[in-house]
Symmetry: C2
Subunit: 286 residues, 2 copies
């Protein structure tokens, strides 16, 4: 058996098409959709991501402005920049690029992002609102998990879902979204003693640990749907996920890395920016 | 075997003693600790709870003011009252009593509560902050779950915890707190097909479904620690939990209803109010 491939590229194209329509609609109303990215790191992976986000935005007609504060930026300086962008009526979406300098956490700094512009769901208020079913932007990767599952018509209600990883940007919000869709949700993490015993109970398995090869074939229930949210750089510079390739022989469906969640995440973030620009209010982006 | 009884009364007394010290310290600084409760219901259980909270506060020297807006209060009126109390420097803690009138949800209205005064963790921003490890007040019942487990030195790190119920006031925040303590956490709910199959995997089982007798002996792993957060009124007016009494013969430990979580919840809410009054800032209440 070979797992069905949960390719995200077609879904991403359809999200981009929606975003392009929204950009045109905004332009007809005299609004130039604008995304601001605040960078305070010299991390190469971050730089690569910011460049690719910028060019994806440009292709859709979304203006992308980058505020590079440098890796030595003080937390107060970053928060002040986020607050300034929040108050700027020309800016519709704000992303705080990770990692942030030592001495602050992204969640703490992101409290300075207006929730109506928090298109990557980084402000804890966005996570809290999501958790209680109030309208909010979800972190783009977590939203992409549910979008990709929906695209392939994977049933969630009543299913056992296991999320590996408890980060504020993927694991926790993905768990909240799966719970809202009536899955029975388990969150595992680095302190889970027998990870395989838990993951092998999953009908839907979402892996976001950032550890290449963490999930082997023996950890997966035959026929399970597996979404790989891992993105690590391999020695040759290529992108690798958290799921061992051998899982293909066990799972019923598996999202590839690259070409799975990644394109859906980027396209979803840009779509969220157009929602922020055209509704002028926090939207529940599905 | 009979389960160890996780009695909450002694713990509650120690929390009240801490609160009384804080009230005295505040008084020495000219501060009269004050809790405001906003009521917009004619529900009898709510009225009983508000009265008992008021008298418990009075015994500690905490002033308790009740804003009874009536069951016909408009959502805007409730939110305005919460905002008014948030701006009132004489008020240190604010509780929005459930249920709220149709047409609004408690989570929506509670966004009007200043997080620094949100002693019952009702504002979604408090839940979001808790989830990402930022200082915030937790909902009193969820906080009481972890306090009671700590009091009896129940290990949480690396243990499998199952929470039954996904409410914003108990299930979700209890799951967030257990996860922060490094448990592997599963949330079950009314759409979980085979509840017993999941709950019987729990080393620590927290039940907050509001359905008397939901958890039978067969649903519990032998030796498990069971915390019963259910509080329903029986036909004779007494308080009953969600856990069948027969679970005593299977569990390693069980919190009784009444006398388990209830007293810890009330005492913890009053302690949180003194924290809000004396620190003048959001505290992480453990």
């Amino acid at each position: 058996m070979t797992a069905r491939r949960l390719d995200g590229r077609e879904l991403a194209a359809s999200l981009r098409a929606q975003a392009a329509l929204a950009v045109d609609a905004a332009a007809a109303n005299g609004i130039a959709v604008r995304l601001a990215i605040v960078v305070a790191t010299r991390d190469e992976g971050a730089a690569w991501y910011v460049r690719s986000l910028g060019s994806a935005a440009a292709r859709l007609g979304i203006e992308c402005q980058i505020a590079d504060l440098g890796a030595a930026a003080a937390p107060g300086q970053i928060a002040a920049e986020l607050a300034r962008l929040s108050a700027d009526p020309q800016v519709h979406g704000i992303v705080l690029q990770s990692p942030v300098p030592a001495g602050a956490t992204a969640a703490e700094l992101a409290e300075a992002i207006d929730p109506a512009k928090d298109v990557d769901g980084a402000n804890p208020v966005s996570l809290g609102r999501l958790a209680v079913g109030r309208p909010a932007f979800a972190p783009a990767t977590a939203q992409a998990v549910v979008r990709l599952l929906d695209c392939y018509e994977v049933q969630l209600s009543g299913r056992r879902a296991v999320v590996v990883g408890r980060s504020a940007v993927v694991g926790k919000p993905a768990a909240a979204l799966l719970l809202a869709r009536h899955a029975t949700v388990t969150i595992c993490h680095s302190r889970t003693p027998d990870l395989g015993a838990v993951t092998s109970q999953a009908e839907v398995l979402v892996v976001a640990a950032g550890r290449p090869g963490l999930i082997a074939a023996a950890h997966v229930r035959p026929g399970a749907v597996v979404v790989d949210a891992g993105t690590s750089a391999a020695a040759d510079g290529s992108l690798v996920g958290d799921v061992d390739p051998a899982v293909e022989g066990v799972a019923g469906a598996l999202s590839p890395v690259p070409g799975g969640l990644g394109p859906v995440t980027t396209a979803g973030l840009l779509l969220a920016t157009t929602v922020a620009a055209t509704k002028g209010d926090v939207g529940t982006v599905r």
